[in-house]
């Protein structure tokens, strides 16, 4: 062992180590492209110079033969730096060796090339980076290289070579491989450091890109004062402030939480608690948005900051409930991943911290992130990306992005160009088209949306692409649901038959609602109001519908103010319609109405109300039954007429009203008709609840439903009992009149005949001796004639043709005058009771006639009480109303005097009562009565415009009441005088013939009338104008006059004075044709020629006497 050799070789090795260490210290991180080439050249030159320096300090075994550590340098240069540096280094060192010359010049040059090539060869054969070579391998590599070096010594002359190897062999093999190991380890470490720095730089660049180009809103905040350190462009776009402004702002300006709470949150985050907080952030335009903020501490450039990743979740909030679980799961997964990441121990603390922060950022965001290298190969991906693609980061690393991130167009199913390619091609940020589907490794198809952006290093060179994308499944579903919902509601809004409108309320300065503006209306609104949307929207109710009533505005004003919804129905005068309205408040000072036009319903209701009111108020009975005849409804008239209440008859059969007057056949006919679907008309005699009978005229019809099925029956019935009674009374009256006419007609002739019979009998009596038989016969004739005359007189009285002397009398006087007669008439067994009213009103009547009436009634009463009893004769004043007299023919309401004659006798059956006043009707034995007593009473009462009421109960007695019109005060003063003719009655006579006129005037004046006579209608009218039509009591005119006719005159005068009595006369027979029209007008007609008595009678009757 040659110690100087060892020493020299170790020194040269130490020099190599020092120089390499120096190089490593200044070496720059790895670069790419042109810079890389330059760097390789620089490295090569440095290695060359290093080699030359080593050769200068070499150990010279003998002149020309030197040993140094250039072999160590060159083999490691080839191994670690590649071809370019090593060839440069080999060239430079070889040239220098040849320049040194000597016996070993060529062998030394060969060693240079052999060792450099050995490094290159190993580098090429290695499957791993040389910096990862283990120490043993490095040592073995050094050993092999230097065995080759020793072998190359034999390029020198053999003896020199053997001598050299003998001297240098051992030291070389001991020292040089060790030097390779030590220098190699140094380089390995240096390269690893450079790689780490490069990776870090890539990371920073990636995340700077993420920060700058991400659509995710990111903020960096200084935890000390809450000021915003930086905001990415997405944040600026979101908040609406420019970046510079944002960098000068404080969190309090965007966070709606109170400052103390913000402070507290920051402290929590600084303590290492990452937070996902849901907040409300304020934007530059003053609006507020719901946001989800993920924040945590981050160290950037040695400065402890807080990062905030802000998601606008305003829209998402709408589906938040549904997503809550998913979000929770996602957050759990994220936390798990974060914890995993946290656990990773990185080699260097500073880098570790920085990387962790950056990774945390990456892992924390809700979006998937994949970064690729410049070749489009996946470098890294965050957990969300792993989850979405189905690839783990490890699996994916180094794979082309197209494999990991497979995307197709959702509609065409065609493969879509990877955004990575586009970014690499254009070097710009690209967004994904809509409808992009990500095909996950496991076959899932996930709708995504996002963008790709280039990763640039500090020098602005693109070193890769970062791809950020998001799972849109939930958003898509939410949006689709929202769109569908919106479409549905739009469809509903446009097609709903209910009117809908949104309005803005307008208030005056006192906040009172004064009008409202249409903001939105649907088609049904247009149909119902007749207002076109384009005309209505933007205009106010008062502008469009000036007749809008105040109550609408007040009602809506309240809704818009209080927010309380209302429902109501009301009439709109402006639209002439009824509406059913629901109004509610969708936003302050606004109201929406949903309304229906219910005009038809209202009208139908009103119609129904009218109908039901009509039925309820109808005087006619209405009964509705079901098909079985069970009563379902009766109206109030039914209750009034039958005496049964509604409750008593509902559910009963109408047969409760049956009186027994109709046989079974009657009812079976009725039902047969109804069952045949026809209407039955007829009369019922029914029984009231109180047992009394009444007659009703009924129409019973089937009630059919829409399907024409009979669902029941309706009976409309009119109570005609009173009508029948009135008819009967009228019929009776007519009959009596006929009989009266007959009696009156024959009386005149009878009187003449009786005059002859009586007179000749008297002559016979004068001639015959009083003892002769014929004298007696003549006497009988005279007696019979007297009786016949009396009968005639009675008939005349009955027929109201009896000459009367009417004057003002007091009925009490007449009764009292007759009293003396009663005692002889009634006998001992009958007690007379007079009840005379003290203040009895006077009447105008014939005293004698009334005496006759009283006597006749008294006689009948006496005959009804053969065993004695009491006869009460009473007088009284009575006032009768219109209703009281309605059932009595020819009786006017007013004041009456009542004479009642009441006995306690046997009474009369109804049959007798029915014929009571008929002439010759008698219940008395033959010869006991003429049958004219009550007929005379009837005639006299009728002649005095009165009437008789008889009430009789068999076994109890009879009461006859006679009502006679009482004189009014005015009549009292005018009444009296002669012959029933009131004095001073004024007659307007119109007659163009002066002779006739004179005659008539003389007759009328003789009969005590006041007469004004004129020759024409015109004069008559002038007369009336001048003197006033009311001054005349009668117009007595010829029908045929020059100019206007008598009839026209009568019409004209009656127009002025409707009550004026008119008596027209004419000689022309054809005027009879006009009788009917004259009768209708109430004019009387007198046929010319007329006798004086006919004239006076006509005037008398026309005047109403």
């Amino acid at each position: 062992m040659n110690s100087p050799v060892f020493k020299a070789l170790i020194e040269n090795g130490a020099l190599l180590l020092a120089l390499v260490a120096l190089y490593v210290l200044f070496a720059r991180t790895e670069t790419t492209g042109a810079k890389k080439r330059l760097r390789q050249v620089v490295t090569g030159v440095a290695a060359g110079l290093l080699g030359i320096a080593l050769m200068q300090a070499a150990y010279a075994l003998q002149p020309g033969i030197i040993f140094d550590t250039r072999s160590v340098l060159l083999c490691l240069c080839g191994l670690f730096f590649g071809a370019v540096p090593v060839w440069i280094a080999m060239g430079m060192t070889a040239a220098f060796r040849l320049y040194q010359g000597g016996v070993a010049a060529w062998a030394g040059t060969a060693v240079i090339f052999a060792t450099g090539s050995a490094g290159l060869l190993l580098r090429a054969r290695l499957k791993q980076p040389p910096e990862t070579l283990r120490a043993l391998h490095l040592y073995l590599f050094g050993l092999v290289v230097h065995l080759i070096m020793l072998a190359l010594m034999f390029l020198m002359p053999l003896e020199t070579a053997l001598n050299t190897v003998r001297q240098i062999g051992l030291p070389v093999l001991l020292i040089y491989p060790a030097a390779v190991l030590v220098v190699g380890l140094l380089l390995q470490r240096s390269i690893r450091q450079q790689r780490t720095v490069a990776a870090l730089q890539t990371y920073e660049s990636t995340h700077r890109n993420l920060f700058e180009n991400n659509h995710v809103i990111m903020l960096l905040v200084d935890p000390q004062d809450g000021s915003i350190v930086d905001a990415n462009p997405a944040a600026c776009a979101f908040y609406g402030w420019d970046r510079k402004t944002m960098q000068s702002m404080d969190l309090c300006e965007i966070n709606t939480l109170p400052p103390d709470q913000i402070r507290k949150k920051i402290e929590q985050v600084c303590d290492g608690q990452r937070h996902t907080i849901q907040l409300r952030h304020r934007l530059a335009d003053g609006s507020e948005r719901e946001v989800e903020v993920l924040c945590g501490p981050i160290s950037i450039g040695g400065r402890e900051l807080l990062y905030s990743i802000v998601h606008d979740i305003t829209e998402r909030k709408r589906v938040e409930t549904e997503q809550a679980d998913q979000i929770e799961q996602a957050q759990q997964a994220r936390r798990a991943l974060l914890s995993v990441v946290e656990d990773q121990k990185l080699a260097e603390a500073a880098l570790q911290k920085s990387e962790e922060n950056l990774r945390t950022t990456l892992n924390s965001i809700g979006d998937a992130v994949i970064s690729t290298d410049i070749g489009g190969r996946v470098v890294s991906m965050n957990p969300v990306a792993e989850s979405l693609t189905g690839w783990s980061g490890q699996q994916a690393s180094g794979h082309p992005i197209e494999e990991v991130f497979r995307i197709i167009n959702e509609q065409t199913r065609q493969t879509v160009e990877s955004p990575v390619a586009a970014v690499l091609k254009n070097g710009t940020v690209v967004g994904l088209a809509n409808h992009t589907l990500l095909l996950a490794k496991d076959g899932r198809e996930i709708p995504i949306a996002d963008s790709g952006a280039p990763i640039r290093n500090a020098d602005g060179e693109t070193t890769g692409v970062v791809l950020v994308f998001r799972d849109q499944t939930t958003e898509r579903a939410a949006r689709t649901a929202l769109e569908e919902s919106e479409a549905r509601y739009r469809l509903l809004f446009e097609n709903m038959t209910t009117g809908f409108a949104v309005h803005e309320m307008i208030y005056d300065e006192h906040d009172n609602p004064v009008d409202y503006r249409f903001l939105q209306v649907n088609a049904a609104f247009e149909d119902m109001t007749g207002l076109a949307a384009e005309k209505a929207i933007g205009r106010t109710a008062r502008e469009l519908l000036p007749a809008t009533e105040e109550h609408w505005i007040q009602a809506y004003g309240k809704v818009a103010l209080t927010g309380e919804p209302i429902n109501f129905e009301n009439y709109s005068k402006a639209l002439d319609k009824y509406f059913e309205v629901r109004a509610f408040c969708p936003a302050p000072h606004r109201f929406a109405v949903v309304f229906s036009d219910i005009t038809q319903r209202k009208e139908a209701e009103a119609e129904l109300t009218r109908l039901s009111t009509a039925i309820e108020q109808s005087p006619e009975t209405v009964v509705i039954t079901d098909t079985e005849g069970i009563i379902q409804y009766v109206n109030p008239a039914f209750e009034k007429i039958t005496g049964y209440s509604v409750a008593e008859v509902i559910g009963k059969n109408p047969r409760i009203l049956q009186s027994g007057h109709h046989d079974a056949r009657f009812y079976s006919d009725l039902w047969e008709t109804l069952h045949a679907g026809k209407t039955w008309n007829g009369r019922f005699i029914n029984k009231r609840k109180d047992g009394s009978f009444y007659t009703e005229e009924a129409a019973i019809s089937p009630v059919r439903d829409a399907g024409a099925n009979i669902t029941g029956y309706v009976a409309v019935k009119r109570n005609i009992t009173a009508e029948l009674e009135r008819e009967e009374m009228f019929r009776q009256s007519q009959k009596m009149d006929s009989v009266g006419q007959l009696a009156g007609g024959i009386a005149h002739d009878f009187n003449n005949m009786l005059q002859a019979i009586l007179g000749f009998a008297e002559l016979l009596l004068e001639d015959l001796p009083g003892t002769s038989r014929n004298y007696q016969n003549a006497k009988e004739i005279k007696k019979a004639a007297r009786r016949a005359a009396e009968l005639t007189r009675k008939l005349l009285a009955f027929s109201r043709k009896q000459p009367v002397n009417k004057k003002e009398i007091n009925l009490n006087d007449t009764v009292q005058d007759s009293e003396v007669l009663f005692h002889t008439l009634l006998g001992e067994s009958i007690r007379l009771d007079l009840q005379l009213a003290g203040d009895l009103r006077p009447i105008c009547a014939d005293h004698g006639q009334l005496t006759q009436v009283i006597m006749n009634l008294a006689v009948n009463a006496r005959d009804a009480m053969p065993d004695g009893g009491r006869l009460t004769i009473a007088t009284d004043n009575v006032i009768l109303s219109k209703e009281d007299t309605a059932v009595l023919p020819d009786v006017s309401p007013g004041g009456f005097v009542c004479l009642s004659v009441t006995d306690t006798g046997c009474g009369m059956p109804q049959e007798v009562q029915n014929h009571l006043f008929e002439p010759f009707f008698t219940t008395k034995a033959v010869g006991k009565g003429t049958g004219l007593g009550l007929a005379v009473v009837y005639g006299i009462v009728k002649q005095n415009k009165g009437w008789i009421h008889v009430y009789s109960e068999e076994g109890h007695g009879t009461s006859v009441k006679i009502y006679l019109p009482a004189l009014t005060d005015k009549q009292t003063t005018a009444a009296g005088g002669v012959a029933g003719t009131r004095k001073n009655e004024r007659v307007l006579l119109v007659e163009d013939d002066p002779d006739v006129r004179d005659v008539v005037v003389r007759i009328l004046k003789t009969a005590n009338y006041q007469v004004t006579a004129v020759a024409s209608a015109e004069e008559a009218l002038a007369c009336c104008t001048k003197e006033s039509g009311e001054a005349f009591d009668l117009l007595f005119s010829d029908m045929v006059l020059p100019g206007k006719s008598g009839l026209e005159l009568a019409d004209a005068l009656q127009e002025k004075n409707p009550g004026l009595p008119v008596l027209l006369y004419s000689g022309y027979r054809d005027q009879r044709e006009r009788w009917e029209s004259l009768d209708r007008k109430g004019y009387r007609f007198l046929q010319k020629p007329f006798t004086v008595s006919a004239l006076l009678n006509a005037v008398h009757e026309t005047l109403g006497n």
Binding site: G745, N751, L763, K801, P803, T1091, L1096
Partner: protein
């Protein structure tokens, strides 16, 4: 009866003339026979026109007229008689009128009848009136 005989004698002495107007033949004959038997000269007319004609040709001392007669009735006769002979005694007798409601007897008085009777009148009542009226006139 006695009274009647005295009157008869007085009547016979003066032979007063009485005009009777009545459209009923029987009544006319009755009154004529009765009054003639009482000693009066009787002129008979079956209607008003004839009555007035007889009155003009042979003026009577007294007229008895029916009221209800066709064409010219008793009232018209009275009216005419009153024009020419205001003081002539006239007795009016009414048998009633078909379907008339008016009582003509008071009218007859206003038209100038001195006495009025309703048919059938008792002959004695009639004679008494005639005698009173003629007696009164002389």
């Amino acid at each position: 009866m006695k009274h009647w005989e005295i009157k008869c004698e007085e009547g016979a002495e003066s032979m007063k003339t009485i005009l009777i107007i009545d459209d009923d033949e029987a009544v006319l004959g009755l009154f004529a026979q009765f009054l003639e038997a009482k000693g009066y000269t009787v002129l008979q007319a079956a209607d008003g026109c004839e009555g007035l004609r007889l009155f003009e040709t042979d003026p009577p001392d007294l007229v008895i007229t029916d009221i209800m007669m066709p064409e010219m009735d008793g009232l018209e006769i009275l009216q005419n008689l009153r024009k020419t002979s205001p003081d002539l005694p006239v007795i009016a007798i009414s048998g009633g009128m078909r379907n008339a409601t008016i009582n003509f007897l008071p009218h007859a008085k206003t038209f100038g009848a001195c006495r009025v009777f309703e048919k059938p009148v008792a002959l004695s009542d009639l004679l008494q009136a005639v005698e009173e009226l003629l007696g009164g006139t002389g």
